[in-house]
């Protein structure tokens, strides 16, 4: 039978699998067949996994035995910086082009345990650095909603794969908005969990005080289903939260108060249609019975500057291990020093090299206090702004996901203008809060808008509940 992939969701596919209307093999093959054709134009995948028959058989056995759960047999995309044993994980980079994972990430093991089927590795900006997926070593991905636009980034391939119905959900990583912003550009749902909710073991690190693995899905409920499977303490990621800590964090009252920091919308560079859409979203929330409260976050406008100190500092530290000695790419030079210099020059693209240099700069002896030390102090000021707002009874802070809709390739050629695309998303990572981007309509050219709900640490349930209300009434 021909499957209507466009309208297929995890829930519908699950019902069909359990009712034996389709088999796991048929469901997976339908998505692969569609991807083989559609991806010639979109380029969401770097590689499709064509030989997962063991996993398919195991999932079918779970269904036949009546032990299937919602994700059993469901095909999903994996950002190319998350390890799947036996498969290449290149992080979209020449540096790791031939690197084969010797183990699977904890999130992949958890998804294996419930019988989900990895469908391929998705395209991304070089080493997850970028907001458009243009800097991938494998070439750019196109936005399925309008192929003359970028899909966002850095997890642009995962967003495009779900938006183009090539898989039913996908994993990305979010360091400063790399799941939420592409979700917004492609008209789907994307989130970042509370820092420490999901194990990063097996994810190629970028900024370790910021990184999280997170799902893309076609709707809020299904993003929650994936999050519930991949979350949890893991001894392999020392920053993961224990069950007790998570339970304690979630012990806060939850209501229907939305905080709106209008002053942030007055910053430069925010598109007029985005502002109008934001206002319309506020009106909608009012009609749904939410109380809208104006709030002040006096230091939030500094988030992007703080982020572009802390993130490159952590990048320069994390990426120093990729020196061409024990694994990955090596460009031989006349001596050891030249080998290091050439390896990083040839192995990484311009943006990655720029961030390593910037990170080295802000951490160097003469500038450490002026930049890095100052940034971590302002980071704590931003965090205390949010703590005050949540303590005053606000349940979620509302901002647009991105200051613009999906832009055109090449439009943001200078680094700083590309960085400004992250202005509304970096705060959640800096303050370790969960946030979710939900589609909120389209602009005059039919390009999707996204609205972002941020909640207090550990309050994913509240965040999902509000986002779900908003989505159901769209």
């Amino acid at each position: 039978m021909a499957l209507d992939l466009k309208n297929l969701t995890i829930e519908k596919a699950h019902a069909m699998l359990v009712a034996k209307e389709i088999s796991v093999a048929e469901l997976v093959e339908a998505h692969l067949a569609h991807a083989r054709i559609a991806d010639k134009e979109i380029h969401a995948f770097i590689e499709l996994f064509e030989h997962e028959s063991d996993r398919v058989a195991k999932a079918q056995a779970m269904i036949d035995a009546g032990t299937a759960t919602m994700l059993t047999g469901i095909p999903y995309g994996i950002k190319d910086n998350i390890l799947v044993e036996g498969h290449i994980a290149s992080a979209g980079s020449r540096m790791l082009r031939d690197y084969t994972a010797s183990y699977s990430a904890t999130v992949i093991k958890k998804l294996d345990a419930v019988g989900a089927i990895p469908m391929g590795r998705t395209n991304m900006d070089d080493a997850a650095m970028g907001s458009s997926t243009e800097s991938s070593y494998y070439g750019p991905t196109k936005n399925p909603r309008n192929t003359s636009r970028v899909p966002g980034g850095s997890s642009g391939g995962s967003a495009a794969a779900v938006a183009a119905d090539m898989c039913l959900f996908a994993l990305g990583t979010d360091t400063g908005g790399s799941v939420r912003q592409p979700a917004s550009f492609c008209g789907i749902v994307g989130m970042v969990p509370t820092y420490g909710a999901v194990s990063r073991s097996g994810a190629i690190p970028m900024g370790s005080s910021l990184d999280q693995i997170a799902p893309f899905a076609k709707n809020v409920a299904e993003a929650k289903v994936v999050f519930d499977v991949i979350k949890g303490f893991d001894g392999m990621d020392a920053q993961t939260l224990t069950q007790e800590t998570r339970a304690k964090l979630a012990e806060k009252p939850a209501g229907k108060v939305i905080g709106v920091p209008r002053h942030l919308l007055e910053m430069e560079g925010i598109n007029a249609e985005v502002k109008a859409n934001f206002d319309a979203s506020i009106e909608k929330l009012k009609t749904l019975g939410y109380e809208i409260r104006d709030i002040e976050l006096p230091h939030a406008h500094l988030s992007l500057a703080v982020y572009y100190i802390i993130m490159p500092a952590e990048v320069s530290t994390n990426l120093s291990r990729l020196d061409g000695m024990r694994y990955a790419f090596r460009a031989p030079g006349k001596d050891l020093l030249e080998t290091y210099m050439k390896t990083k020059y040839e192995g990484f693209g311009k943006e990655v090299r720029r961030r390593i240099l910037l990170g080295t700069y802000v951490l160097s002896a003469g500038y450490y206090d002026a930049y890095y030390n100052k940034a971590i102090k302002v980071r704590s000021l931003i965090k205390s702004d949010y703590e005050k707002v949540f303590a005053s009874g606000v349940d979620s802070v509302l901002v647009p996901t991105s200051p613009s809709v999906a832009f055109k390739p090449g439009e943001k050629s200078d680094p700083l203008s590309m960085y400004l695309a992250d202005i509304f998303t970096v705060t959640a990572n800096l303050c370790h809060m969960p946030a979710i981007s939900v589609p909120s309509g389209v602009d005059s050219e039919g390009l999707p808008f996204g609205i972002q709900f941020t909640a207090n640490q550990g309050m994913e349930e509240t965040m999902f509940s509000i986002a779900n209300d908003f989505e159901k009434n769209s």
Binding site: A238, I309, L336, M341, L357, L358, S364, S384, P415, L416
Partner: protein, 92 residues
């Protein structure tokens, strides 16, 4: 302004090659970003005691696998190897 010499020093410190022909451009880009992050100089942080979001967490250093389990896999991943050893450029 970052000078050409500073840019070369930075490249050396970071072990990232920056060819002579690209020095000015990269220095200009770093300058523009540093110009943006200088906004933090408008904030007085003198009285702020840093409240670290994260603390170091250590865990028991137990052997997760038997020695040798991944030996061949890891050596195979090396850019160069010989007789089961990593082969790297001469250090001295």
């Amino acid at each position: 302004m970052i000078t050409k010499q500073q840019m070369q020093d930075l490249a050396m410190l970071a072990r990232v090659g920056v060819p002579e022909a690209e020095l000015d451009q990269v220095a200009g880009e770093i300058d523009a970003i540093v110009g943006y992050i200088d906004i933090l100089n408008t904030v007085n942080v003198e009285d702020i005691v840093d409240m670290p979001l994260q603390v170091n967490v250590t865990h028991a250093d137990a052997n997760a696998t038997t020695t040798g389990t991944y030996f061949d896999t890891l050596i195979a991943a090396a850019p160069d190897s010989q007789d089961g050893f990593y082969k790297v450029p001469k250090i001295l």
